[in-house]
């Protein structure tokens, strides 16, 4: 799919909690076909500390209105500036970037596992799978019940299992502590979240012989394969997280 540099307009900027917001962006052009796992590089204007673009996964797509959503956690100056964008403001995107999650055959048992803002790409992935007749289950981990975002959106995809670290909702503990992982076996796990969480999930998958794909968040400069800053150590040598990834099968990673 041809990469583009394009101005989008902010349609909505919705704050979900103190840290997380959803940017809904629309373009006057026709959206190209987007694949779950892909991301866009956003140019953050008006933020003197933000020199480079910032990468964000595509969280949701609506081809009818040529809109996409990003679910973004405030991590520093760039995301803070984005959190203040108002409806009607313009935003420059380089997109679509990166590879995508592998969509398995029908009748596979699938778990989408996400923690914190790592749930971002899983909504698009889940909707995409569902529209193709797959029946993913979701396992989402949050710090506490106040951090739980977009629960009903995820519920529309399939059964949702929850963990909170303080036990205020769902099962108490980390995502990998959830009983579903002991009680069920999956063919494929798709995971995105903080690296320690992804490594724990990868460990579970290794032990249980489950196929596992993760979406990495390596630091990026360009986002389209020219700077070689975003490399990941794999069994095939150093690969670029922005073009060969961000989605990797954990059996290829040197974790």
């Amino acid at each position: 799919m041809a990469k583009r540099v394009e101005y989008f307009t902010v349609k909505n900027n919705t704050r979900l909690n103190s840290d997380i917001f959803i940017l809904e962006l629309t373009t006057a052009e026709q959206l190209p076909e987007l694949k779950p796992g892909q991301f866009a590089q956003l140019k953050v204007e008006g933020s003197p500390d933000t020199f480079l673009r910032r990468p964000f996964s595509i969280h949701d797509v609506d081809y009818a209105s040529n809109s996409i959503k990003m679910l973004i956690q405030i991590a520093g100056s760039g995301t803070r500036r984005l959190s203040r964008l108002k409806t009607g403001e313009k935003l420059n995107l380089v997109y679509p970037l990166g590879n995508s999650f592998t969509i398995p055959g029908k009748d596979s048992s699938i778990l989408l596992a996400g923690g914190g803002c790592g749930i971002a790409p899983l909504l698009f992935l889940g909707r995409y799978m569902k529209s193709r007749g797959l029946k993913p289950q979701l396992l989402l981990g949050f710090r506490d019940s106040e951090r739980i975002v977009e629960y009903s959106e995820y519920e529309s995809i399939g059964p949702v299992w929850l963990t909170t670290e303080d036990g205020s909702r769902g099962e108490k503990g980390y995502l990998t502590d959830h009983s579903i992982l002991r009680n069920e076996r999956f063919d494929h796990v798709y995971c995105c979240g903080p690296e320690p969480m992804m490594k724990a999930v990868a460990g579970y998958c290794r032990e249980t012989g489950t196929d596992c794909e993760v979406s990495l968040e390596h630091l990026m400069a360009c986002g389209f394969g020219v700077c070689l800053c975003c490399v990941v150590d794999t069994v095939r040598g150093k690969l670029c997280s922005c073009t060969d990834g961000p989605v990797f099968n954990t059996k290829d990673l040197k974790w």
Partner: protein, 303 residues
């Protein structure tokens, strides 16, 4: 119509805008964004005889108006280049230039000898300034004797246009420029990155796996411009200005200071279309000032 073409030795450029090594891949990464053949030239990513896997991650840190990188010349080596890249880049209707790297003089020479066989490469850029590899690279660019030796050795096997890329991490840039001129280089390009560093205060450790890395972007532009100006006043061969060029105005600073051409580097990460926009901007500037030929403004402030 304003004339935009310039000459770097025997090499004609349709305009003075090229793209810098390590920031433009092999060009094809930009095919989606614009027609690469519109450029005056492209410098391909740093190439070595053998494949190199570069430095460990993390290799990048953002800094005020700039970035540090510690890629360390990751590339698949000349064989892969010859078989897989060369056929593709040969199709561009622009000057395709290879950035030549090595850990020893023999390395550089061997690579130049291999590239001589590739007739669609009108020039090489001899990189004696990479700060990100332990062996070689910058050592050649910061030691006058080594610089002279490696330039001389490559010159003797490379008959086409030879551009020598200088390191800014030196006391006197003009010393190195004069050495390059004396040894028969056709042009000098500068600057490569400034050696810099950043620390992640929260985690109390260096931001780069290699501790130090190369600083690029607008932050370095004043230093780059000063060195280009000094060099243009010290040698007769053309100087190619590099360092922090984001806009046409930035590029024009270099031309006015005496650069015969410029290279766009880090800017391409932020706006992949930077280089073509800069060509347009230079054209517009000349039109507004009713200057008919870009060569007229080269070195304007030195008159």
């Amino acid at each position: 119509m304003v004339k935009l073409d310039v000459a770097i030795g025997a090499m004609k450029l349709k305009n003075p805008v090229m793209t810098a090594s390590g920031t433009f891949g092999y060009g094809s990464e930009f095919d989606d964004f614009f027609d690469v053949s519109l450029l005056g030239g492209i410098i391909l990513k740093g190439t070595t005889m053998e494949a190199r896997e570069g430095n460990p991650y993390p290799r990048m840190a953002e800094t005020p108006s700039g970035m540090l990188n510690a890629v360390g010349l990751q590339n698949k080596g000349i064989d892969y280049f010859e078989n897989n890249i060369y056929p593709v880049v040969s199709a561009y209707d622009t000057n395709v230039i290879v950035n030549v790297n090595g850990s020893s003089i023999d390395d550089y020479v061997a690579l130049a000898e291999r590239i001589v066989r590739l007739e669609n490469i009108p020039a090489i850029e001899l990189n004696i300034s990479c700060p990100n590899v332990k062996q070689g690279g910058m050592i050649f660019g910061t030691n006058p004797l080594s610089a002279r030796e490696v330039i001389r050795a490559v010159r003797s096997v490379w008959p086409r246009v030879l551009i020598v890329k200088l390191s800014p991490n030196v006391t006197s840039i003009t010393d190195f420029a004069r050495i390059a001129e004396e040894e028969g280089a056709d042009a000098i390009s500068l600057i490569n990155t400034l050696l810099g560093m950043a620390i992640d205060v929260k985690n109390m450790k260096p931001s780069l796996s290699t501790v130090t890395g190369g600083l690029s972007g607008p932050a370095v532009r004043p230093v780059a411009l000063r060195m280009v100006w000094q060099t243009a006043n010290a040698v007769k061969i053309p100087v190619i200005g590099i360092g922090g060029i984001l806009t046409a105005e930035d590029a024009l600073q270099f031309l006015l200071a005496g650069a015969a051409a410029i290279q766009v580097g880090t800017a391409s990460f932020i706006d992949p279309e930077s280089a073509v926009k800069i060509i347009e901007g230079i054209k517009k500037y000349l039109e507004d000032k009713q200057i008919l030929d870009v060569n007229e403004i080269i070195g304007w402030i030195n008159r």
